[in-house]
Structures are given as structure tokens and as C-alpha cells.
Symmetry: C2
Subunit: 334 residues, 2 copies
Amino acid sequence: MANQNNNIIEQSSKNNNLPKVFLHGPPQFSILLQPNPSQNFHILNPSSLPPLHEFISLNPDHASSISAIVCTTLYPVNADVIRLLPSLRLICAASAGTNHIDLSECRRRGIKVTSAGNLFSEEVADMAVALLIDVSRKISTANRFLRRQLQIASWDFPLGSKLTGKKIGIVGMGRIGLEVAKRLEAFNCMISYNSRNKKPLLSYPFYSTVIELATSTNVLILCCELNDQTRHIVNKEVMLALGKGGIIVNVGRGALIDEKELLRCLIEGEIEGAGLDVFENEPYVPKEFFSLDKVVLSPHAAVLTSDSFMSICQLVEQNLEAFFSNKPLITPVI
Amino acid sequence: MANQNNNIIEQSSKNNNLPKVFLHGPPQFSILLQPNPSQNFHILNPSSLPPLHEFISLNPDHASSISAIVCTTLYPVNADVIRLLPSLRLICAASAGTNHIDLSECRRRGIKVTSAGNLFSEEVADMAVALLIDVSRKISTANRFLRRQLQIASWDFPLGSKLTGKKIGIVGMGRIGLEVAKRLEAFNCMISYNSRNKKPLLSYPFYSTVIELATSTNVLILCCELNDQTRHIVNKEVMLALGKGGIIVNVGRGALIDEKELLRCLIEGEIEGAGLDVFENEPYVPKEFFSLDKVVLSPHAAVLTSDSFMSICQLVEQNLEAFFSNKPLITPVI
């Protein structure tokens, strides 16, 4: 590791005049999200290296050389991280959401932030529909059941329900919500939504509260961002309003749902099932979920396709190029 | 059992003047598919009873009293079964396909046959899309992986691929094929198809052979019926034409694919994955499938929802009522 670090320092000394960019994320991330070499910036750790904290403590002089970081949701960028990097001017999030970044601290220090913008809307919408059909039609359950039975294709658990005709309530009618609505319309589902504001161009019924939406639908699909207003937007009251045949799909952020109440409602049959790509305390998933056939679990994978890594890689590169050439950012958050 | 049979004979003797209908299927079937009591026919076995062969051998006098049977794909109605029932005049299949019924023998004996018609098209199309997203985005694999890992949401297997934009080849552009096309258009997939004939009203590209379709697409979805022309319509040559990134989804019948070649192509990486609701020798599923993460398996469950049982129950009843009132059948096959 010491050798590797020396190599980096040597490599970067060749690019001494270029602003330094640090890839702040788990090991596989540096490989998948590595921007192309550029004349305008220098990637400090193109191959897997120690995490930021360790890197800075091993190379304290480098702390003030880092102008930009690229980050995923897996490694938060809180005030502690930001304080480590006195020259930080840009944070490129490789995600649509930026709730893992302390935006107030960024604003205070004049640090710009970019996100994936709408780049992943289709993938996330695909995942929402996938989780909904899976829960409704028991695809993963049947697959697991068949593999366990070994060799006999039979069905020996409660029947699922038809997707066509279901009343779908979309929470958060941004780009992802719109893509979900478009897909589920093709299944002859009936769409309605809750959002900060009614969208004048949309003909879908609008409900100003999630509880009204839940009362009128069979399915809630959470596509909104996590903030102080949306934390636990799906609570016990909302789940009881959705009712016994109800399904909840979460492709937003775990803390949109009161996870303890969700578990209780699932176990006690207050709702029918759930498809969850996100969890309240990721990467930890409450073990009680694992014994429930009515839940389909996905490891925050809504954007994990080979295609999306290629796209975000390009977008991060474009944002870095724009920033270090003093051009407008492509997908600015602040 | 003897007692139960006596009861039936007693019950049916009360309805001596009514034509007798036998529910020919597995035990749970009689409960799920039981038509309402009628003034025009009498259901011989409304609760679970011995299978037809056993029933006839226990009650040989009853053989000639049965005018109609209701059947699923799980119990074939071959010439042997038909010969058991000299008074048989109607077979109501609770399925869209009738390849489990000896139609030639029925024609020869003047027996009418009805099917589920297009009743299940939406459910089957939903299943086709579900299997495709699942294989493409590795939903079942991720769910299984997460449950095995227990408590850590992570991703440690090859990335899936984006559904949006995929080139889809639909084999068999009947009602199910159309419903699949409609759904996948909403995912911005590009649809083309192979069918007995080009459909003049459809703008999707038509290919007159499956191999040409496979050459031009990433995904084959099999929605056609099984007959002498379509048996093994997907053979080694077709799979090699589909190629290494290719996915095959089968919601038709198992024997549409050469299953041995499919297994070989999957194991050797000649195609990317498969979503299979049907198998060549159901209910048996080749055990080699169980070790493959790139395959999603479903126990011939495309029509298994609580909603579809209610619908088919009604349709069977309507066909029986029509037949025994000398009215036109609702969904005649022959």
C-alpha cells in the first residue's frame, strides 16, 4: 500500500499543475467510474486506493491539493469530510440524490455540487416496475420456491394478483415518477400522484397529501427525494390507509418509510407486500425482512447496470471538464 | 373415499336429468375453478375427488353419464381419456392453449372444445415483461443474494443491463404478443416480430423467419402456440443468431425451445440469460437450470392470479350454460 501511494504521488507530481480529483467511494467504484485522462484535471486514484480519510492521513500534504471529488451514495460527504479538504471546490455525485452530501456546508464554503441529474430516470423507473410486478405476481418467490423444490414445477403458496388495472399512487412526480407512470399506463394501471405541487400539464389525479393518495390507491411507489419534509412520509397512518391489499415500492431513499412500522404492517398483514431497493440504515437491512416472502429486496441497485456506469462516467467527466474550463456545469445542484 | 363417492352418486341422482360435468384436474383446481350451481348442468365433483381414471373405475356406470369436462393443462385429454367417456360432447379448457387436448380425436367424435380465449392475455404479457426485466436487471438474483448475505445490502455479481432501448423480437403476434409489445414500447424498447403472417395493421418490422428475427434483436419473447410447425422453433441456430448478449423469455410452451440446447447455450455463455415460465416436460424442470443465476424460473404461473381464476371460472360457466342451452359457445376452439 505504501508503494502504491508513492506511485500516486509520483504520478501526480508529473501533473503538478493540474487540479486534483479524488474518487471517493468503494474499491470497485474507481474502476467503474474512472473518467478518461484529461488535460484539465488529474485523477489522483484511478485504480483502487485507500479511502479518503486514510489517504489524507498517509499523505497529509495532499489534503490541500484536492480540488474535486467524485462520490457515490455509499460514502457520505459530511462536514467532517469537507473539512479534510480545504481546497475542495467541486463535488460530483454519481447519483441522482444528494442527501448524502452536506449541501449547507457546501453552500457556506462555496463548493459547487453536481448530480447525475435525470441520467438514471429510466433505470430507476424500470426497477420500480420490476419490483411491483415481482411483488404482485410473486416472481422471486416462485423462482426461489421452484429452485428449492428441485425439478417439480408446481405452485404451493398464496396466489398473486393481477397488475393490470391496479390503482397506482406515485409519490414524487419528477422525471422518475413520470417514467414510472408512462410504463404502468401501458399495463392499463390507473395512475394518480402526490407531489410538492400539482403539475398543470398532467391529467392524472393529484392528491395534496400522501394519506389521501394511499386511501385512493392499491400501490404506493416512492420516487421522491429525501429531505426534512419527506422523511417518514410513509408512516403507520399511511400504510393503514393503503390497506390489506396494498403494495409499497421504494426506489427513492430508505428513510422515506418508517421502516419499523413497515415491518410491523407486513408481519401483521396490514399491507400485502413491499418491493424495496433502499433501506433506512444502508447497507444494513433489518433481518426480519429475510423471512418474509411478501417482500422483494434489492441492494440499492436501481441504477446498477453496465449501461448506466458508462453514462455516469461520461457525465462526471463532462462536469469536471466544464468546471475546470470555467464553463457552465452540465448537471448543477448548487 | 368410498363414502365420498357414494355421496356424489346420491347427489347426482338428485340431478339425474341434468347433463353431468366432471372437473378434470388436480385437487386444488376443483375448488378454484368450481362453476356456480346451474339449472342446466350438474357438476359431479365440486369438491376434491379422485382423478377421472380412478373415478370411472370405481363408478363404471358413470362413464356414460359425463357430457362435459373442464380441464387444465396439467391433466392431458388424450384419446385414452376421451375413450373413457362415450357421452362426452364438450371439453372446456381453462387455458388459452389446447395442445394438451387431442383435437383430432375431438373432431372425429364431434366433441366441441372451448378455451380461455384471450382472457389471460394481460396476465401472460405481464409475466413476459416481468421475466424479461428480472433477467435483464437480475432482480431475483439480487433478492436471493441479499437474503443469503443477511443484513448487508451490497452487489457482488456481474452487472445487469438496461431494459430501455433493447431490441425485442416477439415470436407469435397474437393478442399476448400485442400486449407484450404495448408494454415494452412504454420502456422505449424497439419491437419487431415473427408470426405466421405479416399483420397489415402493425408498423413493427416483420421477419418471416425466427432466425432473421433473432439476428436483428437482443431479446426473443415466445408467445406463440405449440404445434408441429412451432416445436423447437428456437433451436441452436436461432440461439447462436441471437448471440452472447441475448435473452430468451418463454411464456408459450416449453417445447417451443430445444431445452437441451438452451441449457448448453446458457452454460457456455452463448446467450446471456433466460426467463422461463414453461418447460419441455412439465412438471419436471431439468436440474441443471437450478445452478444458473442467469435464469429466472417460474412454475407455469403466467395465468396464476386470484383475479384470473375468478375470470376463467365465469367463462367456463358461460360456455357450459351456452352449450347446454343450445346457444353459441363464447370461446369455441372447434
